[in-house]
Amino acid sequence: MHGFAETAAGALTLEHISRRFGETLALDDVSFSIVPGEIICLVGQSGCGKSSLLRIIAGVDTADSGRILLGGIEIAGNGRFVEPEDRNIGFVFQDYALFPHLTVEENVEFGLKKLPRHQARERAAMVIARIGIEALAKRYPHTLSGGEQQRVALARALAPKPRILLMDEPFSNLDRGLRERVREETVTTLRALGTTVIMVTHDPEEALSVGDKVVLMQKGRVVQISTGYDIYDHPNSLYAAEFFCPFNKIPGICRNGVIETALGAFPAALDLPEGSPALACIRPQAFRLASPGEGLPARVVRCSFLGEIEQLAIEMEGVTEPLQMRTTDRIETRPGDHLHLTIDPGGVLVFPQG
């Protein structure tokens, strides 16, 4: 793959990007940077500003304030604005935005206008081969399936050797079964090419599985930036914790570095003031079956078998709401059954209340 593999090296740096649409602050002082060859996932609920940020990086929208550096060179900020066509940033749009009047081949060639005709042809053919869509080359976009369109959009964006590739929810228009396969293929390709990628998604699993780094956003602000493992294991806020895992929240009081709750005491990693109210957040998979006489008694309210796991709703003494429990242990219970459970302290996070 010589002459293709490189996305021209260049780190992207965002400094204090803000953008307002009327009353709403879509982006509020966003800063982070990306290392060449890295894949970053921007994740958050819809409307959190992640797509706006992508559009601002591409230059199809303008930030109200802040600075963008591409490979150390300022492309936006301080009154300077490099037009999108001069940035050489690739963009895969959510709806792919394939030109309906052009064939697949012509779509891929579209961004290669600066090359002489035969070189553009060659380059397009090379990318088409690399993505594995030779069979589609002469067809028009409306005759393609969703997965095929996605790959054409990827090929088109990669053809001009972008310094960085932006992808806006690139898999959200695909069926569930197809989505995972196309995602794996795409990520494998991008890794092989060493492409620097910023991908927007609203799917927590997708963010954790794809990104070298995950940037979690909420209401226009960056909540946490970290690796997938770190952001899952050590979320810096209740919001970040709950975004990636549905927690059982049990109120308690902090004393001597532990939180005391109706379900027992758990070590609190955070340094919280003595006697302050806090929440113990228990992962559904932190419950373990114990032998009778040990652990805490619990009563099954609902149970559903999901194949790989069983999901239970259980009642425990001192807690008003039913708790969610997930297990791979095959307990095969029925509503009304009584269980004895212990809680793995490794699956408990503590956050200040309120």
Binding site: A58, E83, Q94, D95, F99, F110, H142, P160
Partner: protein
């Protein structure tokens, strides 16, 4: 029922073919030698010229208001639709006087340039092919403007951004993305505009262009030669079919591109003060030529006339004729259109699809073609009725169907049924088929379901269709001229009569009335467009 309606609509076309084939053999050579070649050449020249002009104005205007933001853009967006309110024969009528060598406009130019008489300086005569092309172009461009703008609004935003991230400059966007993208929309708009141009009788006649439409009219009216007229009409029908084919194919291609989803609307580029005002200036030119100038001319002339002579009883009765005829036709057209559309929904299948298609055949056919096609069976039927009644009851009914205006209503129905059927179809298509099933399972029959479910849910769409039909009937000229009862005048035929005689009396009032009523659907259209954007 839908089958009967479809048959009724198809009859004139079939009759036309039948009459043309059985026409006297010695007429055809004459037509072929003297009438058809010139008329065909003139018509094709006209269509070609109008086509180029409407593409240029319509697409340019659509891109201007979509891609750029400048003060006055919002107003311009709907103002560009206004020329739709001016029928072709009225714009010709107005400009004949405005641009007359001794009229106001040329007078001002001479005064500015320091000439004293028309003999020293005059503009080229408006009564020419070029004049006709320009005038038709400036009232028909909105067809292209509407379709193309809708395309830009729904399609262009994402694709323009995609093109820019792929290295296309702002200046290249129009040629590389927008224009190729809009090609199907432009083709649809142009074919609609050309159908109108082909339908026109007034403008070409006043401006001395001998088109096929004019030939059909004169062949029948001055030579009373029905087979001859039918033969020319048949020739026109081939042109019409060509236009329909272009339109259909373009629409099919448009559907493909519409499968692309839209996630945001077009973000126009803000222009500076100078560029902004020039954009507004250029954008206003078609509005000025196509609407403001003729409309204000008519308003002034109508006011003068009204001041001097008031409203004559004749004009009032003509207005009444126009409204009564249009109202009856609208009721019939709506009832038929709803029936056809509902049948297609109730029993989907090839039969109802064919009925629906057939019922829409008239929208492309020029009024003269339909009128001649109707004259053939209706005149025969009238003679038959007359003879039978004389034989049995001993008195003459005269020409019952033509004399009562029934033939004219029939013509309006054929010509405008597509509007109401299409409107009803659009209205119904927003109602999920599960509503029908729910109503039926709750004990309503087909009619009850229609009354209690479809009618209330689609009444806006039906009302809009009804208004369009009403206004189109009021403006209709060619079929009205051919099929109206003896000594029966509408506003449009009155205007035609005066303009043909070269007298300028009350026609300005009639014309103003038509233009004012014609702005109603334009206002609705503008509001619909606004909701979309």
């Amino acid at each position: 029922m839908a089958g009967v309606i479809a048959l009724l609509v198809a009859t004139p076309i079939l009759a036309l073919g039948w009459e043309a084939l059985h026409g006297s053999g010695d007429l055809w050579p004459h037509l072929l030698a003297f009438v058809l070649p010139t008329a065909l050449a003139q018509t094709l020249t006209l269509l070609f010229g109008v086509g180029i002009l409407v593409i240029f104005i319509g697409t340019g205007a659509a891109w201007l208001v979509t891609a750029y933001d400048f003060p006055g853009r919002g107003m311009l967006e709907w103002a560009l639709l206004l020329p739709l309110a001016v029928p072709t024969y009225i714009i010709a009528y107005a400009y004949l006087d405005i641009l007359h060598p001794i009229g106001a406009f040329q007078g001002v130019i001479r005064a500015v340039l320091g000439y004293s008489s028309p003999r020293e300086f005059r503009l080229p005569d408006i009564r020419s092919m070029t004049g006709c092309i320009i005038l038709l172009g400036f009232v028909l461009y909105p067809y292209v403007y509407i379709t193309t703008r809708a395309m830009f609004l729904t399609q262009a935003a994402n694709l323009v951004e995609a093109a820019r991230t792929l290295g296309t400059r702002r200046s290249g966007i129009f040629w590389r993305v927008a224009l190729p993208l809009a090609r199907p929309a432009i083709a649809v708009g142009v074919s609609l505009a050309l159908m109108e141009a082909l339908n026109d009788i007034g403008a070409s006649e006043f401006l001395g262009v001998k088109t096929l439409t004019v030939s059909v009219y004169t062949t029948w009216i001055t030579r009373s030669d029905l087979p001859g007229a039918a033969q020319i009409a048949l020739a026109m029908l081939f042109l019409v079919i060509a236009l329909i084919v272009i339109e259909r194919r373009a629409r099919r291609r448009q559907r493909y591109s519409l499968t692309v989803q839209r996630s945001r609307s077009f973000a126009p580029r803000k222009l500076g003060r100078f560029m902004g005002s020039s954009a507004l200036f250029f954008g206003l030119i078609p509005v000025l030529i196509g609407f403001v100038a003729p409309a204000s001319y008519l308003a002034i002339e109508a006011w003068k006339r009204f001041h001097v002579a008031g409203l004559s009883g004749q004009l009032v009765s003509e207005a009444r004729n126009t409204i009564i005829m249009s109202a009856i036709a609208t009721a019939v057209v709506l009832a038929f259109g709803v029936t056809v559309a509902y049948a297609a929904r109730l029993r989907p299948g090839w039969f109802s699809a064919v009925c629906y298609r057939l019922s829409a055949i008239g929208y492309a056919a020029p009024g003269t073609v339909i009128a001649i096609g109707i004259l053939i069976p209706v005149a025969a039927l009238d003679r038959f009725i007359d003879r039978s009644v004389i034989e049995w009851f001993g008195f003459s009914t005269g020409l019952l169907l033509i004399g009562s205006g029934a033939a004219l209503i029939y013509a309006y129905t054929v010509r405008f049924l597509a509007i109401s059927a299409g409107g009803a179809e659009t209205g119904f298509s927003r109602i999920p088929i599960s509503f029908d099933q729910a109503a039926r399972s709750l004990g309503r029959n087909a009619t009850g379901t229609f009354r209690n479910v479809h009618l209330p849910l689609s009444k806006t769409a039906l009302a809009a269709a009804g208004l369009l039909v009403f206004v189109d009937c009021m403006k209709e000229l060619p079929a009205t001229l051919l099929l109206r009862p003896l000594n029966f005048e509408t506003l449009a035929t009155h205007l035609y009569g005066e303009a043909a005689r070269g007298s300028y009396e009350e026609a300005s009032i009639a014309a103003l009335a038509i233009v004012l009523i014609g702005t109603l659907p334009v206002i609705i259209l503008a509001r619909v467009g606004r909701q979309k954007s």
